[in-house]
Symmetry: C2
Subunit: 139 residues, 2 copies
DNA sequence: AGTGTAAACGATAATGATTTGCATAAGCAA
DNA sequence: TTGCTTATGCAAATCATTATCGTTTACACT
């Protein structure tokens, strides 16, 4: 993703452009999967030396509130990804292993085994992400 | 839910029947929504005095591994519910408020506002819950 | 009913991710 | 460039969850 595009994204979301934010956003755009804050922080340091972990947390929080980033919590840790992507996963209820599904599959899967991984589907979780009525006012 | 049914559930899942487990399971069956471990623990104490918080965690973990219970993590904390129910939610990306959706709605919702609550849908999260290949062997 | 053993329990103390407070530095509108 | 606001970095606090360990209990087999 070109640097300009990142700046536009940030400005468009009403966020100041700082090297740290660009670094985190760029890192986010580079990776193909969801990532934890710690992970992003470690990787983003190549682009912004001295970046603090706490800052990474704040940046992700800010971008999440601005709608640029999506936060998803799995087994006690938060994962982040760009909002414009699809994030469908299989999550093993026993060992917690997370894998992305190939396409966007949906209904009547219970009891079925997914082709490829052999994951046995027992149930599903669907969360609609967005803004509640109150927060829409507060923009 | 009758006490017998609970025992059958536990036994059927290969779990020993203890007053603590019955208490937690009963509490889970009583509540209409997902609940945190702390919450379940507090409520289950009416049925099993002296129940330890750590025990509640272990019971839920055990029942989750046995497939009786579904664990869902939101904003850094785990929520639990019986597996046999549907759990579709709206989650505000700003304030974190979680609400259950009325029915089971699915596609082409992005950008729409939900009737009733006015929740603005920006994206969604779909997790398929079940067992990975390795864990299926280990049963 | 009595007994042995693996599994469950309760309390306390770690762990690890996330937040908070505060002083300093940097973005950006005028 | 100046000034005001917001962002950053660090150290310490918080909070859910996990690990440890000694004690108790469920339950299969007498």
């Amino acid at each position: 993703m070109p640097r300009d595009r990142l700046n536009v994204l940030l400005r468009g979301a009403g966020l100041r452009v700082t090297p740290q934010r660009v670094a985190v956003l760029e890192t986010l755009a580079t990776g193909r999967h969801l990532a934890t804050c710690q992970d992003l922080w470690r990787r983003a340091q190549r682009r912004a030396a001295g970046l603090g972990l706490v800052t990474a947390y704040r940046i992700l929080e800010r971008m999440r509130d601005a709608g640029l980033v999506e936060q998803i919590d799995i087994r006690g840790t938060a994962y982040f990804g760009l909002t414009d992507r699809h994030h469908d996963h299989t999550i093993c209820q026993r060992c917690g292993t997370i894998e992305a599904t190939d396409g966007c599959l949906l209904d009547s899967l219970a009891g079925k085994r997914l082709r490829g991984t052999g994951f046995l589907v027992q149930g599903h979780r669907l969360d609609l992400l967005g803004l509640c009525h109150a927060c829409q006012q507060a923009v």
